[in-house]
C-alpha cells in the first residue's frame, strides 16, 4: 500500500467521498481544495460560514416542520397527560440538539481534526520504518458500505413513513423530508469517528501482528536449529505445540508448508552454522530474500507482504538483544502514540458521543413506548408517527441502536486490541528464552500496562460492553414503568367513562340522595378493574 516516495499514503486519501458528502451537508467546515489536492484538513473561514448557514437553515426548517405538524398535537395536549406532552416536546427537540452539538463541535475542532490525521500519518511512517505495513484500502470499502447502509436506512424510513402515514395531498407535507436531516447529519459525523477509530484499531493490530510474527519466525528458526536432523514429524509436533499459544492456526499451517520447503533448501547452510544460536544468519536472510521475490499468490495479502521483510530481519533480531530492543522500544513508543491519538480523538468527539448516547436511549425508549401506545389506539406525538407501523419502528430501532452499538463495540474492541499488545510482547520474551531479552520485555510490558486507551463520554461513562448492558437494562425498566402507569391511567379513565355513562342512565331514574351509593360503587369498580390482571 505504501509507496516509497511519500513513504506512506495519508489515511485521509480513503476519506474522499465521505469528505465531499460531509462538506456538502455541512458536517465539516474544512477547506475543500486543500483536501482535494493535498489530502489535509485545514481551517477555512468560508466553510465555517457555510456550515453556520446550513445549520441555521436546518433549525428554521425543523421548527417549521414541528409547527406545521404540531397542529394535530394541540388537541393531543388537552387530552394527554402533561408528562407525556413534556417528554414528547423534549423528544422532538433532542434530534435537533444532537445535530447542533455535532456541527458546533466540528466547528470548534476544525483545526485539531487536521492535526489528528497528521499524527496518524506520522505514526504510519514510523510503523513503515518498523516494517509493519498497513492496508488502508479496506477503510475506503468500509466507508462506502456505511454510507450505503445509511442511505438505505434513511430513505426507507423516510419513504415508508411518508407514503403510509403522512397526508401527502398537502403541499406542506413535503416538509417531512426535513425530519430525516438530523439523523443523517449525525450519522455522517459518526462515520468519521467510527472509521478513524477503526483505523486506530488496525494500527494496534498491526503492532500485535508484527510481534506475533517475530515470535513465529523465531519458533521456526529454533525448530530448524534443534531439529534439523530429526524427521519432519517432530518439527510438526513442535510447531503444533507452539500453535496452541498463537491464535491463528490456519495461517500457521499455511506458512508451515512454505517453511518445510524452505527448510529443505536451507538445511545445508543451516548445518554449517548450526549449534551456535548467536550466529548471524546472513545466508538465511539471503535465501529468504530470493524466496520473498517469488512469493506465490498471497492468501492474506497484508501479512504475506510483511513476511519477507520480517523474515530477513527476525533471524538476527530475536537473537540480537540490542537490535530487538530498539525495535521493541520503537513499537512501544508507537503504541503509546496511538493511545494518545485515541485519547485525543475521544476528546474531540466526547460531546457528540454523549449527545448520541442520550439520543439513542431516549429515542429507543420513546419509540417502543409510543408503539405500545399506538397499539392501544392512543394518540401519540405527530413526529413519532413512524411508531404507528411496527415494521417502520423496527427499521428505526435497528438504525438508531446500530449506530450506538457499533460505536460502543468498536471502542471496546480498540481498547482490547491495545491491551493485547502486552500479551504479544510477552510471547516474544517467552519464545526467545533469553535473559537479556526477557528483561527488556519485562520493562516494556510494565510500560505497556500504563498505556491506557479507554473511551468515555465526557468521563461520565466508559464505552464498553458493560455500559451497553446497563443501558439496555435502563431501557427495559423505563419501559416497564411507563407501560404500567399507562395501563393504570387508562383503566382509571375507562372507569370514569363507564361511570359517566352509568351516571347518565341512572340520572333519569336515580335520586340525588343516592350519591353516596354511587361513589361507593365507583370505588368498587375501580378496585375491581385495578385488581383484575387482564386488561
Amino acid at each position: 500500500m505504501s509507496q516509497p516516495t511519500p513513504l506512506v499514503q495519508p489515511l485521509l486519501l480513503q476519506f474522499q467521498q465521505l469528505f465531499f458528502l460531509s462538506k456538502m451537508v455541512g458536517v465539516l467546515p474544512q477547506n475543500l481544495d486543500k483536501f482535494r489536492y493535498k489530502n489535509v484538513l485545514e481551517k477555512s473561514r468560508n466553510g465555517m460560514l457555510y456550515m453556520l448557514g446550513v445549520l441555521s437553515i436546518y433549525v428554521v426548517l425543523y421548527n417549521l416542520l414541528i409547527y406545521s405538524f404540531g397542529e394535530e398535537d394541540r388537541t393531543l395536549k388537552a387530552s394527554q397527560s402533561t408528562l407525556t406532552f413534556v417528554i414528547g416536546l423534549f423528544l422532538t427537540y433532542i434530534g435537533l440538539i444532537m445535530m447542533a452539538t455535532d456541527q458546533l463541535t466540528a466547528l470548534f475542532n476544525q483545526g485539531q481534526l487536521g492535526e489528528l490525521y497528521e499524527r496518524i500519518r506520522v505514526v504510519d511512517e514510523r510503523l513503515y520504518r518498523e516494517e509493519c505495513l498497513l492496508d488502508n484500502s479496506c477503510i475506503a470499502k468500509r466507508i462506502r458500505i456505511m454510507l450505503i447502509m445509511t442511505f438505505i436506512f434513511e430513505i426507507s424510513i423516510l419513504v415508508a413513513t411518508y407514503i403510509n402515514l403522512v397526508d401527502y395531498t398537502q403541499w406542506l407535507s413535503l416538509l417531512w423530508i426535513v425530519s430525516a436531516v438530523p439523523t443523517f447529519v449525525n450519522t455522517l459525523d459518526k462515520i468519521w469517528f467510527a472509521v478513524s477509530l477503526y483505523a486506530l484499531k488496525e494500527r494496534f493490530e498491526a503492532i500485535n501482528a508484527t510481534l506475533e510474527d517475530l515470535v513465529m519466525e523465531h519458533e521456526k528458526y529454533k525448530a530448524w536449529l534443534t531439529g534439523d536432523d530429526a524427521t519432519t514429524a517432530t518439527v510438526g509436533n513442535r510447531t503444533a505445540d507452539s500453535q496452541q499459544s498463537s491464535p491463528p492456526p490456519q495461517y500457521d499451517s499455511n506458512l508451515e508448508y512454505l517453511y518445510k520447503e524452505l527448510g529443505g533448501i536451507d538445511t545445508g547452510s543451516l548445518r554449517n552454522s548450526g549449534g551456535k544460536n548467536h550466529n548471524k544468519v546472513a545466508p538465511i536472510a539471503h535465501s529468504m530474500n530470493s524466496f520473498g521475490e517469488t512469493i506465490p499468490t498471497p492468501h492474506k495479502p497484508q501479512r504475506m507482504n510483511t513476511n519477507p521483510l520480517i523474515n530477513m530481519a527476525h533471524e538476527s533480531e530475536l537473537n540480537d538483544a540490542a537490535k530487538v530492543e530498539i525495535k521493541l522500544n520503537n513499537l512501544c513508543q508507537v503504541h503509546d502514540e496511538i493511545c494518545e491519538i485515541g485519547k485525543a480523538m475521544n476528546g474531540l468527539w466526547s460531546y457528540p458521543i454523549l449527545s448520541l448516547m442520550a439520543y439513542g436511549f431516549l429515542i429507543f425508549t420513546a419509540q417502543l413506548y409510543f408503539l405500545y401506545c399506538a397499539t392501544q389506539s392512543q394518540s401519540i406525538p405527530s413526529l413519532f408517527r413512524s411508531a404507528k407501523n411496527p415494521f417502520i419502528t423496527v427499521i428505526v430501532l435497528v438504525y438508531t441502536s446500530g449506530k450506538c452499538i457499533y460505536l460502543i463495540y468498536l471502542s471496546w474492541k480498540t481498547s482490547l486490541a491495545s491491551k493485547r499488545t502486552g500479551i504479544s510482547l510477552h510471547k516474544c520474551g517467552v519464545v526467545a528464552d533469553d535473559n537479556l531479552l526477557y528483561e527488556i520485555v519485562n520493562h516494556l510490558s510494565l510500560k505497556l500496562l500504563n498505556h491506557s486507551v479507554d473511551f468515555s463520554a465526557c468521563g461520565f461513562f466508559t464505552l464498553d460492553m458493560e455500559t451497553l448492558y446497563g443501558v439496555s437494562g435502563g431501557i427495559t425498566s423505563y419501559l416497564i414503568i411507563l407501560i404500567q402507569f399507562n395501563l393504570a391511567a387508562q383503566q382509571a379513565k375507562d372507569a370514569i367513562q363507564s361511570f359517566n355513562s352509568f351516571n347518565d342512565t341512572a340520572g333519569f331514574v336515580g335520586a340525588a340522595t343516592e350519591m353516596d351509593n354511587n361513589s361507593s360503587t365507583l370505588y368498587d369498580m375501580i378496585t375491581t378493574t385495578m385488581m383484575t390482571p387482564t386488561y
Binding site: L449, G474, Y478, L482, A488, A495, I496, F499
Partner: protein
C-alpha cells in the same frame, strides 16, 4: 552516585532517612516557568494558604477548624488554649441550638416553618430539615474529632511546598479562587432562601421561627462551605500532582526528541543525566502526595457521604416540586416556590459538580504519573530499573477518592446521581398523575 542503591520507601512514615540530594543552586528548569506555577519571590511571613484564607476564616469562626498558630511560613502549630476554648464554646452553642431545633420540630412551635399546601410536602420538608440537621451535626462532630489530622495534613502540604521551594525555587500557587466565588454563591443562595421563607410565612412571625429559619440557613451554609473547603484541599493536592507530572514530562521520549532537534543547532546536553536524582525526588513527592490524598479522604469522607445523601434528596424533591408547579393544571404557578426550588437546585447542583470534578481531576492527575513515567525511555539498565520500580509499585495501587468506601467519587458519580434523580422523578410524576386523575374523578363525582 549509583541509582541502584536507592530504596523507594513507601510505608515508613517518620523513619525515612534519605541521602537528600542537596543541590542548593537548583539547575535552571526553563520548562517549569509556565503560568501554571506562579513564580514568586520567597514569601516572608505571609500567612499560609493565602488563597483559601477567606474560607478558612469562616470555618475557623464557626468552630469547624481550629485556630491554628502559624509557627513559620512553612509550619502551623496547634491552637492556643484560648482559641481552643473558643472553638469548644462555639461547638457547644451549636449543639445546644440543634437540640432546641429538634425540640421545636416535634412540638407545634415550628408550625410556621411548614408553609406548603399539601400534606406530603410537609413530610418532605420535615425530612429535609432532619437531614440537614443530621448532616451539620455530623460535620461538627467529625471536624472536632479530626482536628489533629487536619493540622497534620496542612503541615504535610506545607512541608512539601518547602521542599519544592528548596529544590526548584518554585512557589506553588494554589489557584483556589473558586472557593471565594462559591462562598459568595452559598451566602447569596442561603440569604435569598431565608428571605423567601420569611415572606412566605403567613401572619406574625414568632421569634422561634426567626431563630429556626436563620439557624437552618446557617447549617446549610456551613455544610456547603465545608464541601467547598474539601474541594479546595483536593485542588491544592491536584496542583502538586500536576507539578510532579510536569517535572516528569520533561524526561519523556517526546520531549527528548524535541530537545534533540534543538540541540542539533546548539550543542546542549540532554537533561537525561539528571533523571536519577530528579526521579528520587519525584517518587518521594508522589508518595507523600498520595498519603496526603488518603488522609484528606479519611477526614472528609463521612461528611461527604452524608452531604451526597442530603443533596440527592434535596435535588430530587426540588425537581419534583418544580415540575409539579410548572405542569400545574390549575394555572397558578407560584413564583415563590419556583424561586425557592431554583435557588436550591442551583446551590446543590453546583456543589455536586464542584466536588465530583475536583475529585476526578485529582484522581486523574495522580494516576497519570505512572502513565507519563511509562513514556520515559532510559538508555541504560540503571535508568530502566528506576522506572520499573515505580511502575511495579503502581500496578495495583488504585488511587481513588471514595465516599467512605461506598463508591468512588469522580465524574461518573455526577452522572449516576442525576440518572437516579431522573428515574425517581419519572416514578414520582407518574404517581402524581394517577393521584390527580383520582382527584378529578372525585370532583366529577361530586358534581
Amino acid at each position: 552516585m549509583s541509582p541502584n542503591t536507592w530504596v523507594i520507601e513507601m510505608t515508613s512514615h517518620k523513619s525515612r532517612s534519605f541521602p537528600n540530594p542537596q543541590r542548593n543552586p537548583p539547575h535552571p528548569r526553563s520548562q517549569l516557568s509556565n503560568d501554571a506555577f506562579s513564580r514568586r519571590a520567597a514569601p516572608g511571613d505571609s500567612p499560609v494558604f493565602e488563597d483559601i484564607s477567606t474560607i478558612l476564616s469562616v470555618l475557623k469562626a464557626s468552630g469547624l477548624l481550629p485556630f491554628y498558630e502559624q509557627l513559620s511560613s512553612y509550619e502551623v502549630g496547634p491552637p492556643s488554649k484560648t482559641n481552643e476554648f473558643y472553638s469548644f464554646f462555639v461547638r457547644g452553642v451549636v449543639h445546644a441550638l440543634t437540640i432546641f431545633n429538634i425540640y421545636s420540630l416535634i412540638t407545634p412551635n415550628s408550625a410556621q416553618l411548614f408553609i406548603s399546601l399539601r400534606e406530603t410536602d410537609n413530610v418532605n420538608q420535615w425530612i429535609e430539615l432532619v437531614l440537614c440537621i443530621f448532616t451539620y451535626t455530623l460535620t461538627v462532630f467529625v471536624c472536632a474529632r479530626n482536628t489533629k489530622s487536619m493540622l497534620e495534613i496542612m503541615n504535610e502540604i506545607l512541608k512539601l511546598d518547602k521542599e519544592v521551594q528548596r529544590q526548584f525555587g518554585v512557589v506553588l500557587g494554589n489557584n483556589c479562587n473558586f472557593s471565594v466565588k462559591f462562598l459568595v454563591v452559598i451566602v447569596c443562595c442561603q440569604a435569598y432562601i431565608m428571605v423567601l421563607r420569611f415572606y412566605a410565612v403567613k401572619g406574625e412571625i414568632t421569634a422561634t421561627s426567626y431563630i429556626l429559619i436563620a439557624f437552618y440557613a446557617f447549617q446549610n451554609g456551613l455544610t456547603a462551605t465545608y464541601i467547598v473547603f474539601a474541594s479546595a484541599l483536593l485542588r491544592i493536592v491536584c496542583i502538586r500532582f500536576h507539578f510532579v507530572n510536569q517535572l516528569l514530562n520533561a524526561f519523556t521520549y517526546v520531549q527528548q526528541q524535541k530537545l534533540a532537534k534543538k540541540s542539533r543547532r546548539q550543542p546542549a546536553a540532554s537533561n537525561m543525566e539528571h533523571f536519577p536524582e530528579e526521579s528520587l525526588f519525584i517518587y518521594r513527592m508522589h508518595n507523600k502526595l498520595l498519603r496526603i490524598y488518603k488522609s484528606i479522604n479519611e477526614c472528609c469522607s463521612l461528611i461527604i457521604v452524608c452531604f451526597l445523601g442530603y443533596s440527592f434528596y434535596t435535588v430530587t424533591t426540588n425537581w419534583y416540586n418544580l415540575f409539579v408547579q410548572i405542569t400545574n393544571n390549575k394555572g397558578l404557578i407560584s413564583a415563590h416556590i419556583l424561586q425557592w426550588c431554583l435557588a436550591w437546585l442551583c446551590l446543590h447542583t453546583s456543589l455536586l459538580a464542584l466536588l465530583s470534578r475536583s475529585c476526578g481531576a485529582t484522581t486523574y492527575e495522580a494516576n497519570s504519573t505512572s502513565q507519563i513515567l511509562a513514556r520515559v525511555y532510559g538508555k541504560s539498565k540503571e535508568f530502566q530499573n528506576i522506572i520499573d520500580k515505580f511502575l511495579t509499585k503502581s500496578i495495583k495501587q488504585e488511587v481513588q477518592f471514595t465516599a467512605y468506601g461506598f463508591f468512588a467519587i469522580d465524574n461518573s458519580t455526577l452522572f449516576k446521581i442525576f440518572s437516579a434523580v431522573t428515574t425517581y422523578l419519572v416514578i414520582l410524576i407518574q404517581f402524581k398523575q394517577l393521584e390527580d386523575s383520582k382527584l378529578e374523578e372525585q370532583v366529577q363525582n361530586e358534581a
